[in-house]
Amino acid sequence: MSSGKSTPWALRLATFAGMLFLHLPLLFILLYAFSAEDKSFVFPIPEFTAKWFSVAWNDRPDIWPALALSVKVALIATLIALVLGSLAAAAVWRSKFFGRDSISLLLILPIALPGIITGIALRSAFNLAEISFSFWTIVVGHATFCVVVVYNNVLARFRRTAGNLIEASMDLGANGLQTLRHIVLPNIATALLAGGMLAFALSFDEVVVTTFTAGQQETLPIWMLGELMRPRQRPVTNVVAVFVIAITFIPIMLAFWLTRDTQDVAGSGK
């Protein structure tokens, strides 16, 4: 929408400063991962070393199970969110029914309400139902707030898909299943993938709901929270943090790329 009008310098400055504010802190994480000083956050960093990467890799066996658990939880939660989110999106798109407008509200509630509420609500429900805390209680918690991400992406795609494509398919003699397979799924495939990527990133990072729905299990963010509260080797925490940034960076970029020439930009629904 730039129309050749001159941009006030104050606006440029505010935008630039705002973006700097958003991104500089992450650079410091990277910088401190190479710090030889592991007792404090002294700046400028007195000495640089790369040894923490090998320490994190070799000498900290507590990291690996946490990472594996996080990946497993995120994969299953994403799978559940993909199914539930696209079903809900299809229902809202195809039909009018009583309470349709409330569906979005219901779906967005688990991320619009603070995580502690979702967490403590699920925890007390599990307690009341005498379900013991396990891998699956973590998954249930994560899937609950991941649904909305998939729903938003798929619904946005559905709304741009012409409904008459489906009618045309039916008129030409395809049955419902064939229409689903040859028309609907190819149309929403990238939206599903983008939604799935974001759901994965969301679950992989989640710490609050996990605190309440996990028993003894330790996901990577829970491990990290422990390190923040009682630091053992600060730079190792930084190394893991850099790794976490990298591992969430990839799905986010992919999701962005998958929805790049559409208006339904993947992340706006978080």
Binding site: M1, S2, L11, R12, T15, G18, M19, F21, L22, H23, P25, L26, F28, I29, Y32, S40, F43, V83, L84, L87, A88, A91, S95, S104, L106, L109, A112, L113, P114, I116, I117, T118, I120, A121, S124, A125, A143, T144, A174, N175, G176, Q178, L202, V207, P221, M224, L228, M229, T237, A241, V244, I245, T248, F249, I252, F256, R260, G267, S268, K270
Partner: protein, 313 residues
């Protein structure tokens, strides 16, 4: 190839089921809507109601056992001075954070929509999305090391001969403290940093919906750009700010990790909930505390919906 595949499939049971579904839209709707509704309606809303129910139980004063009977004792406890101070502190922080987020987000959003080239816009968009989706804990942690007494900010303040300013800020009673990472100022900065992307995206969405014809009409009728902004663009972008504030306000109300890592140890609602349900074992009071964010956000969401903020989400 495609047509061959299609004709081959069009026989048998699947065919019958598919056609039955197409002829019975209600059945199809039930099948589509059933699973997500069962999950969110029963698992999630059910849990919220279980939580609500627990807030009407109370803790026996002598035995410390939760009495499963309806009473308002827990709520009476909730409205005592110390607990109200926690609520007020949290709400004040949430309001301050929300306004700061608007102040930072609006220029970025405005620049993105009205001035940036399409390439620049995509770049800025990515620049907002990445922090939004990257790890919350990592980003909080980044500030822990930036705000530390021996850390980056102190060093820069020294280089720029601004130590007096930093010390002056920290000397302010209530919001100051021994260092940035143990003061309300620090907590505030981290909250703003974490939630600001949630404010940018809805404002962008709202600004994009301002019809160009209205802006042109305003100019044609002789308004200066500043007046057009104040009388046309700003009011039309209010839904975006309201939508963004749903997140900034609500998330600040319930967060307990940020004030735990950066800040003095005076509790916020989230920390009180955690302490009550954990070490104190007073689940009814923890549940009653969570009613604050729920009620505040419930009212907020209803108002926001009236203002049309949901279109900007």
């Amino acid at each position: 190839m495609q047509t061959a595949a299609i004709t081959r499939e069009s026989h048998g049971v699947a065919h019958a089921i598919a056609n039955a579904l197409y002829r019975n839209p209600r059945l199809l709707l039930a099948l589509l809507l059933g699973p997500p509704l069962i999950w969110l309606g029963i698992v999630y809303l059910g849990s919220l109601f279980a939580l609500l129910a627990q807030s009407f139980f109370h803790l026996d004063d002598f035995s410390g056992v939760v009495i499963h009977e309806f009473s308002l004792k827990t709520y009476a406890h909730l409205f005592t001075g110390a607990n109200m101070a926690i609520v007020l502190r949290t709400v004040a922080m949430a309001a301050a954070v929300t306004f700061a987020c608007i102040a930072i987000a609006y220029p970025i959003a405005y620049y993105m929509v009205r001035h940036a080239s399409s390439k620049m816009k995509a770049l800025l968009f990515l620049g907002v999305m990445l922090p939004l989706w990257s790890s919350y804990l990592v980003r909080v942690y980044a500030w822990k090391l930036i705000l530390a007494k021996e850390g980056v900010i102190t060093w820069f303040a020294e280089r720029l001969h601004l130590t007096w300013l930093l010390d002056g800020l920290l000397a302010i009673p209530t919001i100051g403290g021994p260092s940035l990472s143990t003061s309300y100022i620090g907590t505030f900065i981290v909250f703003v940093y974490i939630w600001v992307p949630y404010m940018i995206l809805p404002i962008v969405a709202a600004l994009e919906r301002v019809p160009k014809s209205l802006i042109e009409a305003s100019a044609d009728l002789g308004s200066r750009p500043r007046d057009t902004f104040r009388n046309v663009i700003l009011p039309l972008s209010v839904p975006g700010m309201v939508a963004g504030s749903i997140f900034t306000f609500s998330l600040t109300l319930g967060d307990y990790i940020i004030p735990n890592i950066v800040g003095n140890s005076r509790p916020f609602i989230g920390m009180a909930v955690l302490a009550q349900q954990g070490t104190a074992g007073n689940i009814p009071l923890a549940a009653a505390f969570t009613m604050w964010p729920i009620v505040i956000m419930g009212v907020y969401l209803i108002v926001a919906k009236r203002k049309g903020a949901f279109e900007a989400l």
